[in-house]
């Protein structure tokens, strides 16, 4: 009886390290790139509207998060990274009190990982604030490009990049959708009403551009904005950046030890059985021996 309990304990002892081994394997953490911010940039693209002060308010907060002073026609701010949520963009005449009623305002819902351009577009008489959803992904090895037509002098323009028409007739105050183009450097041509402007524009793979058509001092003018940039070609998979010299050296195979335990237990069990087999007849014989001396006394 005591023998079998010992064997049971031994088996438990042998199993315990196996259980311990299983724990770290189950505790593999999973990671997720939780982003909680987006981007906003502000632009003044109304040719006959004087300079403005642009305010960015987080919804429900009366103190402005960002104030851009004296923003003139053709100005586009860099992107500002902001927490996700609702925002209000307000435009006031340059120098107007922050407490005065804005000329214009628009609301923006910033979604995680998204970028927005809030642009004053159109003529002063019909000025509007438009929220543009800026794209941040390109097809592999390609570039994306869109055009904002902010020339009042030429109310309709056509845009060509390297002979490829990006837009045949873009009206003043409108924004084309993004188009995918093969990466490279080519001549951009904007023409309308006998006026024409050209620029050599490099569109690298993995980049997103907004081309702004403006009224310059000498007619049409092109402004190339880099909306976003990434790797032209994304490497496949992860990076092989380690050789294991500082890795914990994994435990050696448990099999020889398990075999030793198993063989030992078998041996002990065989021995135990032989003892029992011998003890049963011995016990029967021993009973007789005891009775004989008892009878004698």
């Amino acid at each position: 009886m005591r023998f079998t309990r010992f064997v049971r304990r031994l088996v438990l002892l042998a199993a315990l390290p196996l259980l311990l081994l299983a724990i770290p394997a189950a505790a593999v953490a999973t990671a997720s790139a939780a982003t909680t911010t987006g981007w906003i940039r502000l632009a003044h693209l109304s040719p006959n509207t004087p300079a403005v002060d642009v305010y960015l308010y987080s919804f429900g907060d009366s103190s402005a998060q960002i104030v851009l002073h004296h923003v003139a026609y053709g100005t586009v701010s860099p992107y500002e990274q902001v927490p996700t949520g609702d925002y209000t963009v307000a435009m006031r005449a340059a120098g107007a009190a922050a407490t005065s009623a804005p000329v214009l305002s628009a609301s923006v819902d910033v979604v995680a990982g998204h970028a927005y351009t809030v642009a004053g577009l159109g003529p002063e008489s019909g000025l509007r604030l438009q929220v543009l959803d800026d794209q941040l992904t390109t097809p592999s090895g390609k570039a994306l490009v869109r055009v904002i037509q902010a020339s009042l002098k030429q109310s309709v323009v056509s845009v060509n990049w390297g002979g490829q028409p990006l837009d045949g007739s873009l009206k003043f105050g409108s924004v084309s959708s993004y188009q995918t183009v093969s990466a490279g450097t080519a001549t951009l041509t904007v023409s309308g009403g006998g006026d024409q402007a050209t620029a050599t524009v490099p569109l690298a793979a993995g980049t997103v551009h907004t081309l702004v058509v403006l009224d310059g001092p000498k007619g049409l003018q092109i402004d190339d904005l880099l909306d976003a940039a990434g790797s032209g070609t994304a490497p496949a998979g992860g990076a092989a950046t380690g050789f294991g010299g500082m890795a914990p050296h994994g435990p050696s195979s448990p099999l020889p030890w398990l075999a030793a335990i198993g063989a030992g237990l078998l041996l002990a069990a065989a021995g135990g059985l032989r003892i029992r087999a011998r003890r049963v007849p011995a016990a029967a014989a021993g009973g007789r021996h005891h009775r004989v001396p008892a009878a004698r006394s």
Partner: protein, 201 residues
């Protein structure tokens, strides 16, 4: 004789159990103590607003809080399309297919966590904390300064290609090294550590 057999068996089983327990302890190599480095100084160049302007190529990297100071080699792609890694474990490398650090976009710098014998240049990368600063010096002597926003670990078979290599609208940096379990059968780590940083304002 039978008792001897039992005793021998129990001794063998006991020795096996002891051996099993003792060899379950993994051997964890220890690196030298961390030495925090001084903050580099130099002219700081703000990010260009448009794509027309270009910043100079990166030449070196300093991460004071984890004692990293290294020159930067150029990394391309392997024949199978994976990211090339630095030829030695003592230097980090900038992926030339990514934007230059400080220009608009996600610049990518990779380095080894270890060699076969000891720590590599990015051994302590996973110890970076949100807000830690990363300094990249460029060929014209200017500095681009970044602030860590996230430190993440991903299994290599589910590497977040878009988050790491995809376009972003502001100057950002990605630092990549290995991590997680080392698979002795393939002699490679099963995970990658990725540090996300944005340009400090």
């Amino acid at each position: 004789m039978a008792a001897l057999l039992v005793a021998a068996g129990l001794v063998a089983a006991g020795a096996g159990a002891v051996g099993l327990v003792v060899t379950r302890h993994a051997d964890v190599p220890q690196a030298a103590a961390l030495q925090v480095l001084p903050v580099p100084t130099g002219p700081i160049e703000a990010a260009p607003a448009t794509g027309a302007a270009q910043v100079a190529e990166p030449v070196s990297l300093v991460i004071p809080s984890i004692g990293v100071s290294t020159s930067l080699v150029h990394l391309g792609l392997t024949s199978s399309g994976a990211l090339q890694v630095p030829p030695t474990t003592a230097v980090a490398g900038w992926y030339t297919g990514s934007p230059r650090p400080g220009a608009i976009g996600s610049a990518v710098i990779a380095g080894h966590i270890d060699s076969v014998a000891g720590p590599g240049v990015f051994y302590r990368l996973s110890q970076l904390q949100r807000g830690d600063r990363v300094y990249v010096r460029r060929a014209d002597g200017t500095l681009a300064i970044f602030e860590v926003t996230q430190v993440q670990s991903y299994p290599k078979d589910s590497f977040p290609t878009t988050a790491v290599y995809g376009p972003v609208p502001d100057p950002e940096l990605r630092l990549i090294t290995c991590g997680g379990t080392f698979d002795y059968s393939t002699r490679s780590y099963l995970s990658n550590t990725v540090v996300y940083a944005t340009q400090a304002s």
